[in-house]
Symmetry: C2
Subunit: 407 residues, 2 copies
């Protein structure tokens, strides 16, 4: 019903994008623009960090007050966080430049920044960059990719995903881009992400779909337990697909939520797999919990344990660390009931039965853990709720990248 297609933010009808080098970073692309020809409903989820970057505060205001959104201006290199009044003025000037060049209202321009905290935006570069971006705007899938590349910081590859489905006899597309890497422990939000769709839908339902969605996708990944000051996930729906506007939680709404889930889960997993220094993706599934909340809490406790992450890096089936991380999660369970498995493309292996080691082969365990995508499954046999979390291993490169980030 929902099928994956090529592309990202320009996959849906009426969306254009651009990504350029404006001189904020030393060499790589550093500014991106997303534009929708028809004004779109715009919603977002944002960081829960008390310290919020200027663009986050701006976008929260627009989400509450603006009927429609027409553009998103993004930059990498400087986060515009902890920059005081000057930072807010600079953020507004960036949005004003876009509004002027595109002849659209100031209050229809979302902003997003990522990079070093505490530095002011280099306004010369920004203001020279905006007209260039507008000139480069394009419908092509390649333009979407250029935008996805321009928001990268320590990411090693750009992250895009798109899907297509039919409702009311019309084709609807959902596409998105995101950047992650470090300071990744989203809470009610993520690092920078922009998802676009040509679906017609009410703003209320659009926000509800997104808020519900992130609980199972971006909020279930962690690279280093650090919730950033700039986490923003923006979703624009411009209605150009031509479907009858969705105003209730009908069958069409459910299909859209499925489609959105495919896009955001894909972007979230790519973000986890490309965590700073990561050599592999770690997926943790907890089964048999009493409530979904408890299953989430257990799976996130495992995925964030430095000791689990280093063991996974070392291809070491040190399962005691998994049980230990479950034990301090705050969730109550009977350790003597726990079953534990590991799985990858090499095969599946039960390490623990009823809280104690099975007579498993360490050699096979190491082989399974040597794959580039590794899964751990813990069954606590209490109830029927389950949850999945995604993370990555902790490597020498994480330390290297973060000990030297600013130099």
């Amino acid at each position: 019903m929902v099928k994956r297609i090529e592309g990202g933010v320009t996959a849906a009808k009426g969306f254009q994008a651009a990504g350029i080098y404006a001189g904020i970073k030393r060499k790589r692309k550093d500014m991106a623009l997303v534009f929708t020809e028809a004004p779109a409903k715009g919603v977002g989820t944002f960081t829960t960090n008390v310290v919020k970057a200027s663009p986050v505060k701006w976008d929260m205001k627009l989400t509450a007050e603006s009927e429609t959104i027409q553009a998103v201006i993004l930059n990498s290199g400087v986060a515009n966080a902890c920059t005081g009044v000057e930072g807010e003025v600079n953020n507004r000037r960036m949005a004003e430049a876009v509004a002027k060049e595109l002849s659209i209202p100031l209050m229809s321009v979302y902003t997003a920044s990522t990079g070093v905290i505490g530095k002011q935006l280099p306004m010369d570069a920004i203001l020279t960059g905006v007209p260039k971006l507008v000139e480069e705007l394009d419908h092509s899938l390649n333009a979407g990719t250029l935008a996805a590349e321009a928001i990268m910081t320590t990411d090693t590859y750009s992250k895009e995903c798109a899907v297509r489905f039919m409702i009311d006899g019309v084709e609807v597309t959902v596409g998105g881009m995101a950047k992650g890497s470090g300071m990744i422990h989203p809470n009610m939000a993520t690092m920078l992400g922009v998802v676009t769709t040509d679906l017609a839908i009410s703003k209320e339902l659009l926000q509800e779909a997104l808020s519900e969605n992130v609980k199972h996708t971006f909020n279930m990944i962690s690279v280093d337990q650090d919730t950033s000051t700039n986490d923003s996930l923006l979703l624009l729906a411009n209605g150009m697909a031509g479907n009858k506007e969705i105003r209730e939680k009908n069958e069409e709404y459910k299909i859209f939520c499925q489609a959105l889930n495919i896009v955001t889960t894909d972007l979230a997993k790519k973000m986890a797999a490309d965590g700073e220094g990561a050599s592999k993706l770690l997926e943790v599934q907890v089964l048999g919990a009493n409530t979904e909340e408890e299953a989430k809490c257990l799976s996130k406790s495992i995925i964030t344990s430095n000791l689990v992450k280093t063991a996974v890096f070392g291809n070491d089936a040190n399962w005691g660390r998994i049980l230990c991380a479950m034990g301090y999660s705050g969730v109550s369970f009977d350790p003597d009931q726990v079953d534990l498995y590991i799985e990858s493309n090499v095969g599946k292996l039960q390490l623990v039965k009823n809280g104690m080691a099975t007579n498993y082969s360490e050699e096979l365990a190491t082989k399974i853990l040597s794959a580039s995508e590794v899964k751990a499954i813990a069954d606590i046999k209490c109830g029927k709720a389950s949850a999945t979390a995604w993370g990555c291993d902790l490597t020498y490169d994480y330390v290297k990248i973060n000990a030297e980030y600013r130099s």
Copy 2:
């Protein structure tokens, strides 16, 4: 009033100790025994992890049921956690062997284990080790050091501390040993620690003194946010100093609490500084909080941030990461009011004033952070409460040690 002296668990009157190689680990000492000639009041604080090792369960039972304690048997190499009924039987057999050799009641023998989770104790080595330990028991300070060495795992040095003070015209001594290194994020307890004193005091007050103490000492350190399955801090008071037994919170009780605080703070800081792979001790002080609880929460959030820890390793005054960690701590404060300083033996430097960077010298900041003991001070200017937490940097060696721990 309270003065520091040489020694550890054998510093107080009537305490003997021994540490030997029994064959549990490949080469290094792996069993220790602490013995008090006069039966002592015994109290403890233990891990809050749902997964509790057999010795933890045993010691909790003894603390509740036994009038007096006379010995503590400890081993390193195997944690005896996640070992089921066999693990509990083995733990009891270890205690029985000590009780028999010393002709003391079984229920007066505390046990403690540290090492790999999920492996059974090698009982041949343990049962051969116990008589040897009893034979080696000695009053000397050196015997205390041998015991402190025998409980080490990935620790790079043994941890001891002792102090002496006068009450009722008699000399009272408090001395202790501890081991830490990895899986260090104590919660109402710590890794293995034994503190001895010849003070005469009621069991109730002894427990209260210890429980209050750990909130400010061992519970304020973190190496990797992993709360172990084996955390135990044991405190024995044998009354041999000859003071009138303390039965109320009088002046003498306060002096004892001060002395205990010096010993446990010293051991806790040594544990943080010797965290797995650590190259330096990081102390974080939060001032101006509304409540002590909030100050603790903020300081622990900073001390546990992987991004702060790697920046400290890289001698990089990346203060945005400190503000970020404060921001997601769950404590509400005004980011635009925060002042931030770093300090070491090189000097003190203000990095942030009212939430924004001062015009500080990056060169001087790097010099300050290059010291082996580094302090960060954050003033949030809300109220009058403060707290201090201790941790260490995150280095290549942490990853190395934990990716290869079992091999």
